[in-house]
Symmetry: C2
Subunit: 201 residues, 2 copies
């Protein structure tokens, strides 16, 4: 990956180092594979930097990304890099130090999750936030996009944020520093292939 040179030198009065160390809001969107996988790859890199990483999963899936969770927990347990905290929405999921009622609406669970992120951002709990599939509750109107954009835009200190999911809202894209769209060129499901362990989860 060539690091290259910036195509413009901004007239913002900042030194190169200050700009280099700026916290980034990163979005992985599009209909293709790799959005979350690349976000967990960033978590890997962040761990190696000694960053504390907070993972927040916004959509319950059958497999809960168990491979990534197991690997990141194993990394955290080595004590060589940063800590990794893993938050899931749904059953057994305890944000805000309490269990969410399993009969609660998923929308409420999503809002509770966002409230926790908001508190963590204010407290500068993590250096890297993986907000996995956050775009869906935004699209569904469960969480207010304008509020998310405002909180992320004004977050204090040096906290990197990665948001994944299809159809990232335009206001979030506008606020982001780095946006990558993953596009499906060819997928095995097109040829009748089902998802498989180790590849899909």
């Amino acid at each position: 990956m060539p690091q290259g040179q910036p195509s413009v030198v901004p007239d913002d009065g900042l030194t190169t180092r200050t700009r280099r160390d700026r916290a980034l809001l990163i979005i992985h969107t599009g209909d293709g594979k790799g959005k979350s996988t690349a976000a967990f790859g960033l978590a890997l890199r962040g761990w190696a930097q000694g960053w504390d990483v907070g993972v927040f999963q916004f959509v319950k899936s059958a497999k809960w990304r168990i491979g990534e969770e197991r690997a990141l927990r194993a990394l955290a347990a080595t004590g060589e890099g940063g800590a990794v905290t893993w938050h899931k929405m749904g059953e057994g999921w305890s944000w805000v130090q309490r269990r969410i009622d399993p009969t609660a609406e998923p929308a409420e669970a999503a809002r509770e999750g966002w409230a926790q992120i908001r508190r963590d951002i204010a407290a500068q709990t993590y250096q890297l936030y993986v907000l996995d599939e956050l775009t869906y509750p935004l699209t569904w109107g469960w969480i207010d996009t304008d509020e998310v954009v405002e909180v992320l835009r004004t977050r204090p200190g040096r906290q990197h944020v990665v948001v994944t999911g299809r159809a990232a809202p335009p206001a979030l894209v506008d606020a982001a520093d780095l946006v990558t769209e993953m596009t499906k060129v060819k997928h095995p499901m097109d040829a009748g292939q089902k998802g498989q362990r180790g590849i899909e989860w």
Copy 2:
């Protein structure tokens, strides 16, 4: 990530399980970020499955993906998942159990690297191969694309392969099961931002 249903059921005489467990050739291409990061995310998942993972880096970069390497080596050292073997092209890089002459041409080093992969595939050394930035020596004509396609198409057993890099050759795309194009929507370098530790490497 919804796993969904295959859009067609192929008339290939295979059971769903056989199709599900088919080894995949995966390509991450395009000009955007996340191609290699997502490949290392797959390595994370493969490790958690207990797969032996072989990483082959085809383009020397200033930072050598040290974060990913450190993390994957730390994971391998836990002994909880699979083994991870990391191969670099260039100085200090020892494919085929010998050091490549540091004065050798990079093209020769790339060919030696490919020869090692070919042997590993024949020997079924790994369950997952990360061929990082292989597309470049293919594009530059250092390694023969037709040979690579043939070796990958006819690889024995259950060996997953992920190839990353811009401008994947059409013959390789044709042979692949899953191809994702990462497209840059917005990048901090456009605003004068330079690469930074933990995000770019």
